[in-house]
Structures are given as C-alpha cells and as structure tokens.
Symmetry: D3
Subunit: 172 residues, 6 copies
C-alpha cells in the first residue's frame, strides 16, 4: 500500500450560516458545526483510504468564537496520522464576516475514523508521510492524543499511557 501525504487528503468546505443553523441569539449552534466537521473529516478520511469510513471518536472540542448568522464557515481537513485501520484527521474551522472583511478562528479538532472493507470490517489504511514541519509535529503528537482517547475511553490504564504520563511526571 502506497504511503500518502496529508495534502493528498486535503479538503476545504465553505458553508453559509442559515437561520435554521442558529440559536435564538443568532449564533451557529455547536452541534450543527460538529455535523459539518464530521462531514469534512469523513471526506478527507475517504480520500486517504479510498473506501467507506465511520466516525470512531471526536476529541475535545472547544468553541472559542461564536459564528454569526449570514457569516461564512470555512472548514479545512487533512489526515494527520494513520494507525493500522484508523486515521486521525485534523479539522480547522474559520468564521468570516465577509462584508466586514473579518476572519477569525472558531475552533480546531481531531477526529478518528475507521476504514471498512465490503463486509463492514476494519481494513488496513496507507501510512502517512508528513511533509511540513507543522505536519511532523501533529504526526508526533498524535500518539499522545491517542493515549488520551484510550485512557478516557477506559481502554488503557493511565500508568500504561507513557506518552501522556510524561506530561505529568518527571521520570528520573
């Protein structure tokens, strides 16, 4: 299986915030934004593995700036690292008040998808070769995020999470 670069799975998606996407304050609802993030990440994951995918998990998402009705939402997604049958996708979300020429970061998140074979069983995916320095950093940090997921999901004991543990403990 041929290795791929993050840019091979790059996806850009622009959406207009319509009335039904907003709460009574006229701000984009967090859940609607997560819906778009999931779609952008799913397309990106499919571009990496060229087969159907399912969302396995979504990491912590913080909403920093409210996105207003009528603004444009731009999502960028690319695969950061692959683990056997799963892929970690980085999604970055911008809001933009086009008339005011004001563009602002809304939030970022990491989503994990699993690739499926025709019988809906997990199947192997190509490795990722980071190209830029930023992609290399994301690639390296992916191990730590994976341990956070496993510990938070109860599938790894904190003491086994060596990557994570190093954050808290100065091992001598």
């Amino acid at each position: 299986m041929k290795e791929k670069c993050p840019k091979d799975s790059y996806v850009m998606m622009s959406e207009l915030v319509l009335p039904n996407d907003t709460n009574t304050l006229g701000n984009l609802m967090g859940g609607k934004l997560m819906h778009w993030m999931d779609i952008a990440a799913a397309i990106s994951a499919q571009k990496h593995c060229n087969c159907p995918v399912v969302t396995a998990s979504v990491d912590n998402v913080s909403f920093k700036n409210a996105i207003k009705l009528g603004n444009v939402v731009t999502l960028e997604a690319k695969v950061v690292r692959a683990f056997s049958t799963s892929m970690e996708i980085y999604v970055k979300v911008w809001g933009e008040d086009v008339a005011a020429q004001y563009k602002y970061l809304s939030n970022e998140a990491y989503l994990t998808f699993v690739a499926l074979d025709p019988n809906s069983r997990p199947r192997k995916v190509p490795h990722v070769t980071p190209e830029t320095e930023e992609e290399q950093k994301m690639y390296d940090a992916a191990l730590r995020r994976r341990q956070v997921r496993l510990v938070l999901g109860g599938r790894m004991k904190p003491e086994e999470a060596t990557e994570l543990r190093s954050l808290f403990v100065q091992d001598k």
Copy 2:
C-alpha cells in the same frame, strides 16, 4: 439563587433515523448524532439556568455501536455540575431496533454550556445538588474532566492539574 437537582434539568428526546441522516452504509452519521446531542444538552442546560446558553465545549466522544437506518435514537440529558457561569451536562445515547426489541448503548458524552445574560455576557447559574449515588460520582468526577478540558485547551499547565495528576502519579 436556589440550588437544583439533576432531575430538574432532565430531558429525554427520541428521534427516528431517516435516510438523510445516514452514510452510504446505512448507519447514522456521527456528526448528525452530535447535532442531536448538542440540542438535548442545550435544552437541559436551559432548564437548569432558565436563560439562553451557548455550547462551550464537547468532551471526547467515542462511537461504540453503529445505529441503523429506521432505528430509534433515544437521548437522555441532565446537568451534572455547575461552575460559576458554566454547566456540565451528561448525555447518554441509546439506539433501538424496535421491531427486533433490541436496545443498545451507542455512546455517552459530557458537554459544557455557558449561561448568558441579555447582553450575551456570562452570568451565574444555580449550584447542583446530586441526589443519587451515581449523580454524586458524576459530580465528583466533574472536577477531573474540567482539568482535562483546561489542559487540552492549553488554559492550564499539566502540573497544576492536581486532580488529573493523581491518576498518573503516586505522590508520596
């Protein structure tokens, strides 16, 4: 401000999985489910603080079991703990194949909402008084989840996250 119990903010929501909610495998898309989770949690948060709210963050979400087209999704939400102007809401999601009388846990998550005054500035919310043993446990663990959020969001240094640190380090 009068304290409230988790059951005061209890919300139950049932939805039918329709074709447009599913991917090409006929499974509910993760993003659509997060959309519903956000709405259920927002209604629950509003019941607790009786004012407009915005999504501040969503904790790690893992999708354990795929929910199929035509199945019923049941979401239960209640406020677990309040922190000055924010509330942590627990959401539990069940899938159900009603014809086959088969009900299964899909996933659980914690979402954080901020209460807003008429000028869209954060405002104080009532405290939460847990009533059952399970609610007490969730209430206690809320501090640790809050530190995970702050550390992952870069707003707290790992060494200050005392609740979290204790998971990894046996302080002597």
Copy 3:
C-alpha cells in the same frame, strides 16, 4: 401474544422550535407540529407491536396555544387501546418557554396506526391492559372515538354507532 401496558409504549420527545418551523408571526406551524406528533405516535405504536406501522387516521386536533420560536416542544405518546390489527395512540403536546419557566398545554390528539407483516398486510397486535384510572377511562372512551372515526369516514351508519348515539339520545 402477551398483553402490554400503556407505559410499555411510552415515548417522550423534545424538540426546539427553529426558524423554518415557524410562520411569519414567529409561531410553530400547525403542520410541523402534526409531523412531530405522527413520528412520536409511530415510535410508540412500534414499541407496542414490534413491527412496522402506518398511520391510518388522525382524530380532530385543535391548537389551543401558539408555540413560539425558540421554545421547547415536548410530546408524550402512549398506546391507549388495541383493536385486532390497529392501535390508538394518545399524544399530549406541551410548549415551554424555558427562560421564563412557563410551560403550557398546546394540544392533545388520538392517532390510529395499523401494524404490518413482512408483506405489508395488517397483522394482529397485543391487547392493552390499562393500569391507572386515567388509562382505564381513555381505554373505555376509545370505542366512542372509534365510532366517530367510522361514522365520519362513512364506514358506519350513524344509527349503528351505539356508543355515540347515547350521547345524543336518552333511550328509554
């Protein structure tokens, strides 16, 4: 076939009134509410008979109080009585202005669903055993509502509608 209680088919559904659900006065459109009532009732009917169902009829519905944009709609549904292959479901709808802590009855209705076998032919459904006094009353009155439906649908002559006739005539 085992008898079932109304609480076995109990469904609760909460929805947020979004801009597209309202008319130019900012009130929930009657037709959208009936759409939600149909879905809540269909889920309840399926819980009772554990097979696919179709809407056979909807009784008179009166809209007492307008539900405003941004309010929460809560629907409760349960099967009241079964007739061979059909079920009568009672749906109660509440509106709620959560910020103002004001909850109000919007309307109530009875819907009838037919259970279908794999060839889309009507199939037998379990009997209903009312448990509370209110459920017993609804169970008893179901016969009269059924006659109203049959007379209005032209499938029963008024003089045969003995339950209904007694409302108008003092038979000596």
Copy 4:
C-alpha cells in the same frame, strides 16, 4: 367586505416524495403529508382573507392509499365557508405514479384557520359564495362539521348540536 368565491382561494401544490419523507416501507409518512396539507390550506386561507392566518384545527384525517417514494403528490385547497373570523378549507390529496400513469385519491380533509390583525387578534373575514353544486353542498355541511369540532373540543354540549343530533335522532 366583498364576498369571495371558493375559486378565488384555489391553490394547487405538487410535491415529489423524497427519501426523507418516507418510512422504512418506502411510503410517505402521514405526518409529512399533514405538513403539506397545512401549508396548502394556509396559502388558500390567506388568499381568502389577505392577512396572516393560524391553524385552529384539523378535522379527522384518514389515510386510504399509501403514497410511494418517487411518486408525485398533488394537493388542491379552497375555502369552503367562513364563520366571522375563521375559515374552513377543504384539501384533497392525490398520489400519482407518473411513469405508470396511475393517479389515486390519497385522502381529503377539512382544516380551520383564524385570520389575525396586526396585533395577532382575530379579525373578520369575507363571506363565501359557493358557485357550483358541489361547493353548495360543502358549504351546507360545514355547519355540521363545525358542531362536530365544538362537541369533540368540549365547547358545545351534544344536546345543543342540533345539526349533528339530527343524524342520530328522528325528532317527531
């Protein structure tokens, strides 16, 4: 206020049955159809009174023939009779399998709307002048349907419903 004929408020609406409008059997959901009926009737009522309207009630609706995915739904609506501030609208619904050149009656219903002034208070509407024999029959029967609504809504005692009572009793 100038009288109007039913044809002045005539509305025709055609819709395509899309996947999200159907249940797992591939049939149009009853609630979606009622949603369209409400919109067609609302447009018709507005044409009669030239002001905003709200749904007051929907009479018994029976679903005779299932409408299949991909079929065309045609709704016809017109105001049948006016009562001071309210209007009764007749809606007739056809399903059509265009490829098979097969058109079938799905159902009929009567909906009642109230006209509103700029302060959302009921306001007077023009009288209706039936033109055809069929319109005259519908006009005459409107009184009886109105009594059914009032009796079923608990706002009229059965013994006062003289139009209705005559169906059941041979007064000598």
Copy 5:
C-alpha cells in the same frame, strides 16, 4: 407513440418562502428557486413521457424581482417541444404577497430533460402538438433556443446555426 399537448404535462406548484430559503436581506436565494424550477420541470417532463427523466440543461435565467420571506411562490411548467429523446419545458415563476394582494412575475426559463429507459439509456418521447397561438410560438422558437444551447455548449459551429444566424445576418 401518441402525440401529446402541452396541457397534458401542465404542473402547478406553490411554495411558501421560509427563513432558510432566504439570504441575509430576507430575499429568496436564486439557487433555491432554481431547485424548485427543476422539480416542477421534472414532474412536467415525466407527465409527458411517463418514464424517469434527468436534467440535461437549463437556459439563461434572469431574476427580475426579488421574492420576499413569507411570500408565496407559484411555478407553472409545461412541455413546449420534444426532440427525439429530449423535451424542452417552459417554467414561469410568480411571487405573491398575499396580504397585500400583489402578484408579480419573478422569472421564466426553459429547461431540457432527457427521458431514460430502464437501463438509463435515452429513449424516444412523444411529439408535442401545440394548441394555442402562444404554444405554437414557443414551439417554433424552440429550434432557435436549441441552437443557442448547442453553440454555447460547443456542440455546433456558429455558422451551422441557421436559425440563430438569421438573427444577426440579412442573407441576400
């Protein structure tokens, strides 16, 4: 194959402009209107050929008058001329402020659809027999519109477009 008249494929469709259909100025978005025009034309084309159809092209569309939120959109469609396996459909769109009793032309357009056999290959469609003078004019002008399409689509050389050429050149 029996010839058909334009009135055999006549379709009328009324829609209410809802919040999500409008831009930030409260006007119906052009793209949403084109979506409705495509559906009305597709139903009309299916009525003419009684088989599945696909959109082949849409001629130039100019939007003359903005349609406001809450207004009623009425679309009328009929088949104007048939060419072997394709049909040209004329769609006329009206906006209406029902309360103000103000009806205005929004735009007109010609769409072309191709009829498909069960293997999704083009199949022959019935000829069109115009009945009114206006239908005859549209029928005659259809050849010129067809040449515009072919020239603009690069499938015909301008010098071969005899119908079109006559507009620009006085051939002696």
Copy 6:
C-alpha cells in the same frame, strides 16, 4: 476602490450527495446542484465586493455527467470580471467517487451577481485584474457572454451585439 485578482475571491466547497439530493435513479438532482452553485458563487461575489449580493442571472448550464449518491461534489468559484455594479463568477463542478479514485467534470457555469448598498440599491464594485492566461481569456470572453445575456433577456438588439455578431458574420 482597490482592484482585486480572481484568486482573492476563490472559494472551494465540498458536499456529500445525500439521499434527499437524488432522484429515483440515485443521481444528484440538477436543481440541488444549481442551489450549491448559487451559494458558492454568492460567497465568491461577497469576497470580491465585501457587501451583500443578489443573483442577477445564471448562464446556460449543461449537465454532462450524472453525480451518484454517496459521491463527493467539489465546487470551485472565482470572480472573472466586474461591470460597474455587477460581477461575473465562474463555477466549476467536479464529481468524485472517492473509493474508486475516479474524479470527473460535471459542469461549468457563469453566474452574475449584483452588489447592494445598505438600502438594497446597486453599488459599485472593484475591478478585476486577471493574473493567469486562463483568467485573461475568461476576462476577455466575458463581454461576449454579457451580450448573450442581454440579447436573450431582450435588453439588447442582436444587431447591436457586436461581440456576438462577429461569431456569425465575416464583416468585410
């Protein structure tokens, strides 16, 4: 007013084809695609003029290849030329079967938008400076497309359309 390049208004939009976007053959409906084209073009136009815009017209659109359910649609839009208060936007649409690694051109189109001031009156927009050879060609050909629009819309006589006339006539 500062001139702008086409790349300043470049917009990329990716969408997943969901069941409700398709006809009974499982192909994306032409009208839905035009809806997306209109949104992509509107965002692009807003980026150029930094104010609200309305669709003025859509040039001939031909649908070359059907886009299947589950495929990814990618739209690219940029402003090609500006005329006083209006802008011509070029939109290119790709379909992609990601699993099969098969990407195909669906169609291209030119849309015209008008920029509006706060009173909804047309306002001046910046000029466009083409940068690449392809952009220069599109810029030059924009005049001819504009004449096609004016002639087809009945606002210019064919004999005045000098750009267009030269296609048909060899003036000596």
